[in-house]
């Protein structure tokens, strides 16, 4: 158990972030908090990729002329996650735009209040 905590702790962080993100998305009534939960959930996945590319005592993958100089940290997951972060930012922007629209139409960003407002419609 101790060994797991000291060597694989990044994966525990991944599990924690995924759990917290999913919990906030399901449990919170506030749309903005739901979006924050979505971001936390995605961050969990980003951390997963980054830790998968990590190498103990690995260096940044800049190969000297003539080659050699390893071991390197795998650059591929970092590049992928850079793209995924951009996707995540765009999603957050669209989601917040929708929240603004919802607030303009109903005057609330709370899911439960929204349901009450809509039953009156």
């Amino acid at each position: 158990m101790i060994e797991l905590l000291t060597t694989k702790y990044t994966y525990l962080v991944v599990v924690a972030l995924l759990g917290i993100g999913a919990y906030v998305m399901i449990e919170s009534d506030n749309f903005v908090k739901k979006i924050i939960g979505m971001n936390v959930f995605q961050t969990g996945i980003f951390v997963f990729f980054i830790s998968a590319g990590f190498h103990t005592e690995g260096r940044s993958p800049v190969v000297q002329s003539g080659g050699g100089g390893g071991p390197f940290v795998s650059p591929l997951p970092h590049v992928l996650i850079l793209t995924a972060i951009v996707v995540g930012v765009s999603l957050t922007a669209v989601a917040l735009g929708l929240v603004v629209r919802i607030y303009e139409s109903y005057g609330t960003i709370n899911e439960r209040t929204l349901e009450e407002v809509r039953t009156d419609e």
């Binding site: 999913a22 998305m25 749309f31 739901k34 979006i35 979505m38 959930f41 995605q42 996945i45 997963f48 990729f49 998968a52 591929l76 997951p77 992928l80 793209t83 995924a84 996707v87 765009s90 999603l91 669209v94 989601a95 929708l98 929240v99 629209r101 919802i102 303009e104 139409s105 109903y106 929204l114 809509r118 419609e121």
Partner: protein, 508 residues
């Protein structure tokens, strides 16, 4: 075979979206002119590349000159050719309805073209991470298009769709992560061999399969992961629901098929039979529950949406059974469903525009007043039920045939039961349209006036009824009906064209 024109399938609509924005700066009508031109070019390109892929074998290109498996590969084989052509043709056709139905605007056309770019990208990519990116591009454009109705209701549906869609795509990404950890590669063809080398019973490979299937099944809207879908379809503008019902989930189901057979290969199913059984049960439950939910709906667009849940279940069951007949049936049903459901949503939107009728009861007497519209939508509904010779019959027939040949009898029973349920809800609608006395809204429409009926108003300010369906909308519905029947008649030719592709997919 290498082909330099392949990236244009994605680049053209992407560039078109920018052009639409640029044209919108110059003039109000600019984007409405740019979009059809770009999509017509896209259709031509897709047709040309698709026919070459079917006749001469798969085309592929390494983007930016980086060779696979290090670079991103774009591949068009028979199957992706069919999907790319479907995307191009349906989006071009749906554009005719957009100009009838919507305010349009620069942002709308730009999003529309981005959606086409994302869908084409999903169809042609040969790289699992690249597929994630296109999945999200498709998603972003779809959320924005759903919200383009401009009502608060559509914004809520779009946000719900966004939260679901993002979690689905994130789960897919997690699955890709597991596969990457197991193999160190992202190229689909390369993954197929590397996953086999990693061992199909390795927990990493099993987890990646699970996450990828759940992620894509949510995007495809299988029960119980479908809850975003009816709201999104019902609250979107009519033209947008026609487009996304026809294409978005279809391409997600195609991606599922592609990953199951190109990445995990049939050998994975043989090594881990429980994965196949789980997928079959999942899809079978989706078929039955989707149909039952559709029967209980009173609003027509919602009924069509739940019907999609059941029809995609059929497609996935065909994929899971995995005999050549079943997979061919799944592909036929995928293509046929896109055309039939797209046509039905255009019909539903036209009826709502003309009469304000949105519920099953309000459809009463519709066929007497609007015989062409009623007749064509009845043909589409019967095609959906699976009356020969329409394409709905062909797809279900091949899937059932595959199920029987593979010895999975319960699936054949489920398909039969779902056909009866499909008949139940569509027969009700056909009966209302042709037999029942005309409802108030239908009568009001032909008088040229309209009294405030609640359902029409709840979905935002709809334009005043013109009391006559427009020629373009009629042409679309009739066209979809004709294509649905003709496609059913030429299904054996389609089989000959796709046979080499499916054989390659299914050969270990």
């Amino acid at each position: 075979m290498s082909d330099a024109y392949l990236p244009l399938l994605v680049a053209l609509p992407l560039l078109g979206a920018l052009l639409a924005v640029a044209a919108g700066l110059g003039s109000e009508r600019g984007p409405a002119v740019v979009a059809p031109v770009v999509l017509a070019a896209q259709t031509g390109l897709a047709g040309w590349l698709g026919s070459r892929a079917i006749l001469d074998g798969p085309l592929s290109v390494g983007v930016g000159g980086f060779v696979a498996p290090y670079g991103i590969e774009l591949v068009v084989d028979g199957l992706s050719a069919a999907v790319v052509v479907l995307v191009a043709v349906v989006s071009l056709a749906a554009l005719a309805f957009v100009t009838e139905d919507d305010p349009g605007g620069t942002a709308f056309y730009a999003e529309y073209l981005l959606l086409v770019a994302g869908l084409s990208g999903m169809a042609v990519t040969g790289d699992v991470f690249n597929l994630y990116v296109f999945l999200e591009i498709t998603g972003l454009a779809t959320y924005a298009l759903v919200a383009s109705a401009g009502t608060g209701r559509s914004a809520v549906s779009a946000l719900k769709y966004l939260l679901f869609g993002t979690v689905a795509a994130s789960l897919y990404l997690l699955g890709v992560g597991y596969a990457l950890v197991a193999t160190g590669t992202l190229n689909m063809a390369d993954l197929a061999t590397e996953l086999a080398a990693a061992g199909y019973d390795s927990p990493l490979v099993l987890a990646s399969f699970g996450f990828i299937v759940v992620g894509l099944a949510t995007k495809t809207a299988l029960f119980p992961l479908h809850t975003w879908q009816p709201d999104a379809y019902a609250d979107a503008p009519d033209s947008v629901s026609a487009l996304i019902a026809a294409l978005v989930s279809t391409v997600a189901a195609y991606a599922l098929l592609r990953l199951v057979y190109t990445v995990y290969t049939p050998a994975f199913f043989e090594a881990v039979p429980v994965a196949r059984d789980a997928l079959i049960v999942f899809a079978a439950v989706s078929i039955v529950v989707g149909s039952v939910l559709a029967v209980t709906q009173s609003e027509v667009k919602r009924m069509l949406a739940y019907s999609s849940v059941s029809q995609y279940g059929l497609v996935v069951v065909g994929v899971a059974i995995g005999t050549p007949a079943a997979v061919f049936g799944a592909v036929v049903h995928l293509l046929g469903h896109a055309i039939m459901k797209g046509g039905l949503f255009v019909a539903a939107g036209t009826v709502a525009d003309v009469t304000g009728a949105r519920t099953v009861d309000e459809y009463a007497g519709l066929a007497d007043r609007f015989p062409v519209l009623g007749g064509a939508s009845a043909v589409l509904m019967l095609a959906m039920v699976g009356v020969p010779p329409a394409v709905g019959f062909a797809g279900k027939w091949y899937i059932a045939l595959g199920a029987v040949r593979a010895g999975t009898w319960p699936v054949a029973v489920v398909i039969f039961a779902s056909t009866l349920l499909t008949l139940a809800y569509f027969a009700l609608l056909v009966e209302r349209m042709f037999v029942a006395p005309a409802s108030e809204s239908v009568l009001a429409a032909t008088d040229g006036g309209r009294d405030g009926d609640a359902e029409g108003d709840a979905l935002g300010p709809s334009p005043p009824p013109t009391a006559r369906p427009s020629r373009r909308a009629l042409a679309l519905v009739v066209g979809a009906a004709v294509v649905a029947v003709v496609l059913g008649l030429v299904v054996t030719d389609l089989g000959t064209a796709l046979e080499p592709t499916i054989d390659t997919l299914l050969s270990p």
